[in-house]
Amino acid sequence: MSRPPGPLRRKLPNSPFLADVGVIPVLRAAVEGDGDEAVVRALVEGAGLTLGDVYVKRGKGELDKKLPAYRQASRFAPWLVVRDLDHDASCAPELVRTLTGSRDSPPAGRFLLRIAVREIESWLLADREALAGYLKVSPDILPASPDELAEPKTALVALARRSRLASIRRDMVPAQGSSARVGPVYNGHLIRFATDFWDPVRGSRRSPSLRRALTALRELKAELHAG
């Protein structure tokens, strides 16, 4: 069932403490950065689960190093780790193998490592209707298959450059002469969009990596409900 584009105005998450006493354990998550956190919150909520602690790292290097710790901790609560594929492997399964290693002991409990192909921005680009509305651009210029983009972040900035809103262009596009990849308030907009407008269910129609992540979370939810 798809919802119409426009602000969804999610309610604030419940206190993890209150949720902890419920039957369904609260999910923990670990992500590469602040923007990823907002996307993962919306994703988990879209799957009907409650998110508690989120470990927000400074980049994938730091995240990768802590993976063994999170696998261990999944003994106490289910865990979700989301990481960009970037160009670290040719496909997601290969990266998962590299990151978890064949010699590594299996995770202690329910542990999901989901890879965004190739960057988490492709998950946002996949909700065309909402993103076009947010950026004030025509939906026709959004990519049909964002998972096939080599640089989804660059693609998102390129779209912002064509925005009818000067504030979007100023905030999200690097100033002339700047060698930064994104504009000064890029992350702020990414968080705002992910939190208030993005619908992962709608997005999962165009991004296979998002669809698989959503399916895995729904299966996790079913498992948790089953006991």
């Binding site: 999170y70 702020g188 939190t195």
Partner: protein, 376 residues
Amino acid sequence: MRFTRVRLTNWKNFRELDLVLARRVFIVGPNAAGKSNLLDAFRFLRDVADPEGGFQKAVKDRGGVSQIRCLHARKKSQVEVEIEAMIDSDTWKYRLEFGQETRGHRRPLIQGERVAKNDQVLLDRPDPEDRADEGRLTQTFLEQVTTNKDFRVLADLLAQLRYLHVIPQLVRDPRRSDARRDPYGSDFLQQLATTPKGTLESRLRKINKALQVAVPQLKELKLERDELGVPHLKGLYEHWRPNAGWQSEEHFSDGTLRLLGLLWAFLDGDAPLLLEEPELSLHSAVVRFIPSMMARAGGKKNRQILISTHSPDLLSDEGIGPEELILLRPSQEGTEATLAAADAEIRTLLEAGETAAGVAAARTSPEKAPQLALFG
């Protein structure tokens, strides 16, 4: 002497709190979660035990019972503060329960005061005399020399607690600090100069040893008087720069001076030290070394130190164990305080390579919206 446990009921934003305390304690949490309020429970007992202060003043200085009592308090609305302490090899307990007169002057009134030494009860109020004369319940036995004879060591320990909050304004205006002597103000050198020679040299040696971690080029510290008798702290610098050699304090960086003051305060006294957000006044590269410097400077004496912080740098020290980490998180029921060691999940994360800083950040910020604020 050190605190081994603290229990609070209806104290400011803690409805219920019960924590075992290690030699070193790091209190972490988001702004306004109650880091200062937790330290303030200890300061409150110090103010009560202070012969020049006392219970009435301690409550009044905090804006009265209504300002102290937790907003989340339920039926049982009295405030309770209880500590356990180890002095020499004795275990002491002190418990104070209080509220407010329901009529008349609405004075702060003691509802219970108990002292135990090695589980033997030395004091249990209210006693029959208290019931006959309610005026007696406006003062603790702890604060009165005529009544605290049996537990004077405990009263002394509490009265000697040291609290430091080194915000830059305090450095410039020491009068605003409640520390009796401010090691960061202009009297720091005078303090050094009035310390007996043997003690001074031993402390400077310890400080120097600790500083090696953060300021390795500073090889030696000594105190000298100039022709006018004014004391100067001199440091021997060894490095490739042309200004190597003995330098006096005006050439030390601000950060080095503050660090010296911090370490001096740590060595000056035996009672526990409460240190609020030391990162505010120091360079992040130095903040990282505070835990290890404290450990080195403390040496055998190993003074207890309770530090409130939200500095990831300070918490990145891998030597911080789960039994030393207190995590505060606001909830609808007031702030929850958890000892990391008491939470199996956090213990596992720390053992498997996550840092105290990482756990603190995830545990203490359930809702993060600072960036959203950009958009009104």
